[in-house]
């Protein structure tokens, strides 16, 4: 039976961007406030799951051709390589640093190397969550 889900699909198209924006916000807020790679990753994953729910797996897999298992690998390697960087520079593993840089238009912004680490966490969480959810959904 074909379900009529025009409303869901239309709403999803807009809401997904709102969720992604919020995920983006949470990710960067995490450096000093509540948020971070894990929470941002979960939020981003929930946007993707909403897409898969309102359309179907084939359509979305064509639109976003990412192998989520590989994404886990990419995420973990990114996080580990940032830790490895500190070893090469002669600091204890996982040491991080930050610097205030003056950007035109935006003003002074804090740039921290731990954000790179958090990127790895984000990828891993998105990859992990979607691998789990997609493999469960394939079972049915």
């Amino acid at each position: 039976m074909k379900v009529n889900d025009v409303i869901l699909q239309t709403v999803t198209k807009i809401v997904v961007f709102i969720i992604f924006t919020f995920a983006f916000y949470l990710f960067f807020a995490g450096h000093h406030d509540t948020g971070g790679g894990f929470i941002g990753g979960l939020m981003a994953a929930s946007a993707l799951v909403l897409l898969y729910l309102s359309y179907d797996i084939d359509t979305i897999s064509k639109a976003i051709p990412i192998n989520y298992r590989t994404l886990i690998g990419v995420g973990v390697s990114v996080s580990m390589l940032t830790g490895l960087g500190s070893i090469l520079l002669g600091f204890p593993f996982l040491s991080h640093t930050f610097e205030y840089v003056d950007f035109p238009f935006f003003g002074e912004i804090e740039l921290a190397t731990s954000v790179l680490f958090e990127f790895g966490v984000l990828f891993t969480v998105v990859g992990g969550t979607l691998t789990i959810i997609l493999s469960i959904s394939e079972d049915v």
């Binding site: 298992r69 590989t70 886990i72 690998g73 973990v76 390697s77 580990m80 830790g83 490895l84 070893i87 600091f91 204890p92 593993f93 996982l94 040491s95 991080h96």
Partner: protein
């Protein structure tokens, strides 16, 4: 700062991740996983030498001093276990190359072996209770995958039990950690030790300590071993050997560490309890080993007996007995891996694990038979093999302290263990040969090499006990004298 310590975890972790990308290149996967473990082995050997010369090494991750940051502690005890882990890992991998099958290799077998070893070695190295929990989980999650990988009916049945038991015990672990954090305000082993000795180990703390003991006992199969024979019987032997050699040992290590560094102040309660748990485990395990006629079951119950023996040795709590326990712990990791791998070949050849359906294998497989015989004697503690020294030291310590029951039970169960493995030997290798070479279900090509390596180690550890003892004594010294550990982690006090 000793960044070399983190390499022990980083190399297998990176390799594991790299192998995800090389999913379809199986020979590359094999080479990389062996190379990674060889590298870790060399690094571990270097660290052991440095620890012997310069004392315990620590690494404050991210440059955060303890108790605020997470610290990795490489003392002699932990490093010996790490080194043993790597060697056992290499042998099980070599065995896996021949036996594990392409299906599993394609589904991330090598990746999860690397992750499992990260979890095991991380548990040995960490100096922080919460981090211990995390590494436990790394190890357990990989072991869930390895047990279920392949998806046979028996595997799924056993993995559900295994997962449920471990999830419940992990939850209890978290609760215990929460209680401890609430009472002590810290989770760093050294810092907890300082605070416990300052405040005194009162009834409440001892209760939490016993709760923690319960959690570790469940992981170590101490008395609560009911999940072990089933779940170690389900996966292929390469994986079962790795589990038998490593997983319960992490629980034992945790008991050694926590009840020597953090909670050594009420031995009349906690260590007494450990002694009785150990005695009961030995008895029940030995009865199980004697009673069964299935090869896998007998071997699995032998794991349980050894757990009881080591914990009982630790509970005596003198330098001699602890040294014996540590020696036996390392010996047991080697010899259990060896027995499981040899048992794997026997099951592979005959296609069954029922002893009554095997016989006369020594005619075509003499080396297999003799290696099994040596492993059986080493397991029971016949001199000059590796099991002897450990048992001798534990019994010496136990009798010296008046723990006659431990000594008696230890000796009697040794005999029962010997009986159970010799039963395998007699049924499997003596008698009429029913199996022609053409009828064998698998070829032994390449599968005897890892067993040969382990056999050499088992003999070497016994004959070269003088050489090994230098390291063992150093390890026992750290356990026996926790201030060494505390000073290494927090040189400036609180």
């Amino acid at each position: 700062m000793n960044n070399i310590i983190i390499l022990l975890l980083l190399i297998p972790l990176l390799t594991g991740v790299l192998l995800i990308f090389l999913r379809n290149r199986i020979s590359a996967q094999r080479w990389l996983s062996i190379l990674s473990l060889l590298a870790v082995g060399v690094i571990a050997a270097i660290i052991i030498q440095r620890v012997l010369n310069e004392g315990t090494m620590t690494l404050n991750l991210g440059g955060w001093e303890p108790p605020y940051g997470i610290v990795l502690v490489a003392d002699m005890f932990a490093m010996l276990l790490v080194f043993t882990t790597v060697i056992v890992g290499i042998c099980c991998l070599l065995y896996g190359f021949r036996t594990i099958g392409e299906e599993r290799e394609r589904y991330y077998f090598y990746t999860f072996i690397q992750f499992l070893l990260v979890g095991v070695m991380g548990s040995f190295l960490t100096g922080d209770l919460f981090n211990l929990f995390v590494f436990f989980e790394v190890m357990l999650l990989s072991s869930y995958v390895l047990i279920a990988l392949g998806g046979k009916k028996v595997q799924l049945r056993e993995s559900i039990k295994y997962v449920l038991v471990n999830i419940v015990s992990s939850m209890m672990f978290l609760i215990a950690i929460a209680y401890l954090y609430g009472m002590l305000g810290t989770l760093n082993f050294a810092h907890m030790a300082i605070r416990v000795s300052e405040a005194g180990q009162d009834g409440l703390l001892t209760t939490v300590a016993i709760f923690l003991m319960l959690v570790f006992s469940l992981k170590a199969a101490l008395l609560m071993y009911f999940w072990l024979p089933g779940s170690y019987g389900a996966p292929p032997m390469a994986i079962a050997a790795l589990f038998a050699a490593l997983l319960t040992k992490v629980g034992i290590y945790s008991i050694f560490r926590v009840f020597s560094v953090v909670f050594p102040h009420q031995p009349e309660i906690t260590h007494q309890l450990l002694a009785w748990l150990g005695i009961l485990t030995m008895i029940i395990g030995a009865i199980g080993a004697v009673a069964h006629w299935s090869l896998r079951k007998i071997l699995a119950y032998n794991v349980v007996v050894a757990v009881g023996f080591m914990i009982a040795g630790f509970a005596v709590f003198t330098t001699t007995a602890i040294a014996g326990s540590v020696f036996y712990l390392i010996h047991d990791m080697f010899v259990k891996a060896l027995l499981f791998l040899l048992g794997g070949v026997m099951i592979g050849l005959t296609g069954t694990d029922k002893l009554r359906e095997m016989s006369g294998m020594i005619r075509n497989h003499a080396s297999l038979g003799w290696m099994f015989f040596i492993a059986a004697l080493a397991l029971a503690g016949v001199p000059p093999l590796s099991g002897f020294i450990g048992k001798l030291l534990v019994l010496q310590g136990a009798i010296g302290e008046g723990f006659y029951i431990i000594a008696a039970v230890g000796l009697i169960t040794s005999l029962m263990v010997l009986y159970s493995v010799i039963k395998i030997f007699i049924n499997g290798f003596w008698g009429e040969n029913q199996l022609t070479v053409e009828d064998e279900k698998m070829s032994t090509k390449g599968t005897l090499l890892p067993s040969a390596i382990l056999t050499v180690i088992v003999i070497g550890m016994g004959l070269g006990a003088e050489f090994v003892n230098v390291y063992i004594m150093e390890a026992a010294e750290v356990i026996n004298n926790p201030s060494l550990y505390i000073d290494a982690v927090m040189p400036n006090g609180e």
